[in-house]
Structure formats: C-alpha cells, structure tokens
C-alpha cells in the first residue's frame, strides 16, 4: 500500500505557482496545481499580443503540458472561491480540495480605484482575452477613421489615450506609435495614420516611477521621438466612450479619444482579503497580504502566499515590486522550504535578489536598471530581448517568439493584426441559414 504523502495545493499557475511546483519535483509530496485557466501566461509580453506583434499561443503554455513529466503533480482546472482553514480545505465553485500545505499564488487583476464603470470604456490588460479585446479596439479605431468623412470625428478615432506611466503604459504607447508610423504606412487610403495622437497620461511627475530618474527621462525622450505625447502630473477624473478628462489641480481638460487603455494600477486577487480576514494578516492598499519573513501567514506556517498577492517588507522596509522575478524567487523559496521541512530542516528568511529591471519602448529602445549599471538604447533593448526569450517557460515559446520577432524586425511588420470577435450587426453572423435579410431594389 502506498504511503500517504504530504499534499501540497498550489493556487495559480503563474510564475509563483509554477516555479513552486517545479521546485517540488523530486520532493516526496503530492501536488495539486489549481488554476481557472488551462495555461501559464507570460504576462510581460501580453502588450505584444494587444498590439498584434505576437499571437496568444506564443506567450501562453498549457499547464498540463508543462507538468506532464512531473509525476507527483496534477493540474485541476477550477475556480477557487474560498478556504476552510480549520479543516485545511480549499473551496472550489464545484467542490473542495484538502491540503496539508497551501501555496496561494493567485496574482493580481486590474485596479480602477473604485471607478469600475470606467472599465468598459478603458479596458485593461491582464488576460489573453483582454489582449485580443484591446487589439480589436485599436485596429477597429483605424478602420472607423478610414470610413469617416468628418475630420473631427476621425481625429477622435485616431487619438489613443493610455492611462498609467508604468512599464505596461510605456510599452503600449511605444508599440502604438510604431503601428501608426510604421506598420500602417501605405495601408490606408483616406487617413494618414501618422497623424494619430498617442497620449500617455501619468499622474505622477515622471514615467516609470520605480526606475531611477535619469531612466525615466530617457524613456520619455525615446517615446517623444516615436511621436508619443507624454503628459505627466495629470490625473484622470473621468472616462467615457468619447474620451478622458484630465485634471491638474483645478484645471480640467477633455481629451476626445475613442480608444482609452487602462494600465494605471493592479489589485491583488480577492483571495488575499479572504485570507487576511481569517488569519489577521494585514492587507495593503492594493489588497496584497503581508507575509512573514518565510512567506507564510501569521500563525499558519502551512500557508504560503507568493508573488503579486503578497507584500514582503522584511528586506528593505519597502514592499517588493510586483514583477515576475519576485514571484519566481518566492515560488522557489516556498517549494524549497516545504521540501526542507520534510527533513525537519528549515531555511533562512526569504531574500529577494534583484537582478535588475528592464522596460522596452520600441524596436531598438529600452531602459535597463541593473543596480549601479543604468543605461538605455539598443544595448538595453537587446538585453530585454534576450531575457524575455530566456524566461519563456518552454523551448517552444522561445522558438515561436524568436521567429516572429525576427520576422517583424526584418519586415517592420506585425504578425497578428487580426480583428476577431468583432461585434457585427445581427445580420452578419457566420451562418447564412436564415437567409432573408438582403434587400434588393
């Protein structure tokens, strides 16, 4: 008879959860990885799907395939809705799963700071569906402008407002500028796509606030060379289908922009709130839960929280940033500590090793903050390319992304400029079975 082994349940197949599972590959445990999606998503490249440079499958890898050769792991496609900590159970929408040790790595979603109603006018970028929605909106905006006779109306369709000057906002703005100035050159007949306005709105005084000021300045300069209008120190006080209202102090201005993209903030999974309520752990403004030096919750050494859901302040007094590297290192730490405990050993507290930060602006332009070494331009961009290929979790994705990037670089084109799920009038469904609507006079 098989011995009952410790059951480790991992919630979330992002960087934190996946690296935790892999770390436990040779440990004498049974692992259940629960995700409500069937794929790991390489979020740092999601903006490239939203701007038609890559296809969804290039940056998403099915979790089952990733773990198929790890015999001690199973994958469960399911929706976690809560916990029964006393009985050590995870509650799913359609059942429950018991655990001995729990790793919660459910990540973060977008944050409209209470203005949830803005979401329909200003979509944000967290999932593959978000990315294809944004791609459709961007491409449809150019198509609509091409059809309009009214120049003012066309101008609003050719104005793109990006709210939030962090890495995602900077990357989206740069990519949109390339689409307007390069990719779509010669493709339209009635509009000049180079007339498109791309406005990047940042509430703070500089872009990329987590980077050193000189890199923020480099990024702003590089974006302006690409034709992006960088607006700092302006808050967004209203968003609707017609555009955004920007306010500085008491002065407000309405910017007509038919496409508004939201990259202004993230909020941790509400599972964090549930855990905080049950364990007494603190939550920060973004809904992230404070973890102990070993990434567990107070009084619950059997529960780890890693990645974007956790706030870890024991190293510098400041929370660690919500980036892939933190999630990877925390996931590995949790896995390692679980394995050590089985041999009645422990580990020193978690320490984040900051390998540096990179943000890309466009082809050949990026900024790199490697501690004392800070630089921008082509070298930073090549470093960005190399690292983003390296951290794809599967060789296949590395190959596919590399081929597409090479192709896009050579042709100055984009591989995946598709409008899908366009909401056509009811008469335009793919089946013609009803077949009565065309009118002939």
């Amino acid at each position: 008879m098989q011995e009952r082994r410790e059951h480790v349940v991992i919630i979330g197949g992002g960087f934190g959860g996946l690296y935790a599972a892999r770390q436990l590959k040779n440990a004498p445990v049974d692992i259940t990885l629960i995700d409500r999606r069937n794929h790991h998503l390489f979020q740092p490249l999601l903006y490239q799907v939203a701007t038609g440079a890559l296809s969804p499958a290039d940056i998403a890898t099915p979790l089952r395939g990733l773990l198929k050769n790890q015999a001690n792991a199973r994958v469960l496609l399911g929706e976690v809705v809560g916990f029964d900590l006393a009985n050590r159970q995870v509650i799913l929408s359609d059942g429950e799963v018991g655990y001995d040790t729990l790793i919660v790595a459910a990540g973060a979603g977008n944050n409209y700071f209470g203005k949830r109603e803005w979401a329909s006018s200003a979509p944000s970028l967290k999932t593959l569906e978000d990315a294809t929605t944004i791609r459709r909106r961007i491409l449809s905006a150019f198509e609509t402008a091409e059809r309009l006779d009214n120049p003012e109306a066309a101008r609003a369709w050719l104005t793109f407002a990006i709210v939030g000057g962090g890495p995602t906002g900077v990357e989206m703005a740069g990519a949109l500028a390339e689409i307007a100035h390069e990719t779509f050159k010669h493709e339209f007949r009635n509009i000049n796509t180079a007339d498109a306005r791309i406005v990047l709105v940042q509430s703070g005084e500089r872009l990329l606030p987590t980077y050193p000021p000189e890199l923020s300045a480099s990024a702003a300069a590089a974006l302006e060379r690409l034709g992006v209008e960088v607006v700092t120190g302006a808050r967004v006080t209203d968003v609707n289908a017609e555009g955004v209202t920007l306010s500085r102090g008491d002065v407000s201005e309405f910017l007509p922009a038919r496409t508004v993209l939201w990259t202004a903030g993230v909020k941790a999974s509400p599972l964090g709130k549930a855990l905080a309520r049950a364990t007494g752990a603190a939550l920060d403004r973004s809904g992230r839960i404070s973890v102990e030096p070993d990434l567990t919750l107070p009084g619950h050494p059997e529960i780890f929280v890693v990645g974007d859901m956790a706030t870890f302040t024991h190293q510098t007094g400041q929370p660690l940033p919500g980036v892939a590297q933190v999630a990877i290192q925390q996931g590995r730490y949790a896995g390692r500590l679980i394995a050590r405990r089985l041999r009645s050993k422990s580990l020193p507290p978690f320490r984040y090793w900051d390998k540096g930060n990179l943000a890309t602006i466009g082809r050949g332009a990026a900024v790199a903050d490697l501690g004392r070494l800070r630089f921008s331009g082509l070298i930073a961009w090549l470093l960005w390319v190399g690292i983003h290929l390296m951290y794809q979790v599967e060789l296949e994705n590395k190959v596919l992304v590399f081929v597409q990037w090479l192709w896009n670089a050579v042709t100055r084109g984009r591989s995946a400029l598709l409008i899908t799920n366009l909401e056509l009038p009811a008469s335009a469904r793919s089946s013609y079975d009803t077949g009565t609507w065309p009118q002939v006079s």
Copy 2:
C-alpha cells in the same frame, strides 16, 4: 485633373476576391475590396486552429497588408446588406458604394438544413471565432471528464461526434484522434485520454464522396487505424447538449456525446439569393447562383459571381466543387476579363483546370486524387504539406506555419492548446475590483 477610371467593387476577401484584385493590379481601374473582416482566411487549415495545431494569425492575413503595395486598390471594412442594381450601388449597413463592375465573392457559411437550433450544440467551422470556440469545447471536454467521479458521465464527455464525412469531417476526426492518443498522453491523471471515442458520422455510403471510391476506403482505413469509429449510412435526426440521435431507416440510436461538431454542409451567402431575385438567375439547393459561361449573371455582364457562391455547370454539366482552386481560378478569370474588356477584347468561356484534390487524415496520412494518379499515405501527405504551404498568400504565413508544423512533428505536440473565452462563473472575471465574494469559514 485625374481621369475617372472604371470602379471595380469586390465583395469578399477570400480566395476569389483576393485573386481577382491581384489580377487587376496593373489594370487602369480603381478597386474597392469590401469585407466584414479585416483578414483573408486560409480556410483549408481552419481545422488545425480548431484542434490547437496552429494559431489564428498563422492562417489569417490582414487584407490591408496584402494590398498595401497595390496603389489602385483600397480596402473597406464593411457589411454588405444588399444591392441597387439599377443604380449600380452596393448597399452597406452604414452607407453605399457605387460600382461600374461588381465581383461578388462572399463565400459560403454552414448549413444545418433548416435545423438552425442544432448550432448551439453542434458548432460548425467557418471562421476564426468558430475555430477557437471548437478548440475551447474540445479541450474543456477533457478537463471536465478529468473532474468527474461518475464514469458514465465522464464517458459522454470523452465522446466526440463529428457529423459529416467530407474533407473537414475527416480532418477533424483524424486530428481529434491524434490529440486523444498522442498529444494528451501523460497529461491527465484521472482519465485515460486514449479511451476517448471519436465517432465520424456520414449519411452517405462512404467518406469523401467526391473522391474515387478506393480513396474513400483508404481514408476510412487510415482513420480506423487512428482509433476513429467511422459510421456510414446513418443520418443525424436530433442533436442536443447530451448527444446525437443517429438513424438508419427506422432504427434510431442515441449516442451520448458532449461534444458534437457539424461539418455536414455549406450554404452560399444570402447575397446570392438577393442577386438571384433581382436578375432571375437560378439558385441551387445550397443557395449557389448559376452563372453564365463567363461567370457573369444573365443580363448583367457587369456582375461577376465567383467561388463558393457560384455554381458553374458549363464545363461538365455538373457543378464545380466548392474548393479554393475553383475560387482562385474564377477570381483570376474575372479580373482578366475585366482588363480585356477595357481594351475592347474578350476571353473564351471560363474553364476550370482541376489540379487534383487532397485531404489529410493525420500526421503522415492523406489521400490524393490527381485525375488518373490516385494514392494515399506518406507521399500524399507530403504533397498536401507542400501545397498548403505554397498557397498561403504571404511568405510570413508560410514561414510561421512551417515552423509550427516542424515543431509539432518533432515533439508530437500542438502549439496552441489554449482555452480562451471560457465562460467562468460571474465571480471569476479578470478584475478583482468588487472583491467581496470569497467566503472563509
């Protein structure tokens, strides 16, 4: 002042419309290509998107990019709803476009033979959205079976019924068998995916009825070797979410199958019916319009109908098949004839040059009907691979498809096994802003 040139309006950016536009590249005409989608779709490989071997962008190419270097052509994203033949106008849902010459190449949709209500249980495969929907259903069926304790319920989720034994049905059945027996080997823990039943239902006496009987037999044998159950001579008399009812004569049998795919028939765009009513041209059972020997409509030499919308019987007495080659050759013919007319010349009647037909069954297996030369197996499959790369309309798609096929062949995997747009419970939206639902006991 610029001379007013003849205005050629082309409806549809499929093979027929696109090749007509390209044929007119150097003719002194202005071309407007109208499509309700922004991309040309390589339909023969759509089943590979539906089965996760390729990504949508691999087989779809934006029309603007394809025509950007053709100065006499513009692309209009629009929905044609009818015609005003007397005033030579195409009626769009939001305007109209005048023409001197019209090429109608709006293709065909699916055909449920009046049982439109079956569509929700048995989706068909005509658009990229159809393909990603079918992909989601197939992958979700395996995921659901993995979660179920009840073996009988799991069995229904592991049963896939494909209705229609034409090329698409054969290709889908073969690909599904490969997914169940190869791709998913070792990926699930509770089910053995090789137990999946793939049932291909054909109402006629043999698969691939337009092919020679010996190739139909080869295809059936190859599918059975892959584990597909081939059922011939059985009509589908009901479809619902639980499965399909198959009838032979008076004997009916219910097959519990949670995934049913419909490949049983096509019906021409309803624009054909509108044109027939206005011109007196005949319509066949599939809604295709009878064209003159020069592909125009009776009494309307300025209107061409090409591809899947047209039925051309002047060559053999039988209608030409609804395949890409017919559309390509007809599109080219229409373009050539329009250019000749401008020089007051004409052309002999259209003649289809049948280069042969190929249908693939799985990796290394296909059937080829090249007139007197008929064969099956690896050689037929290699031919199929070469031709399907050759007819991709852009080098980029050739490269992307080739790389993915090579990868899939080496790893016996599939590149794009993604579940997207999964309908999750309301609590599972990508934003966590509401943040109240998790319950902790």
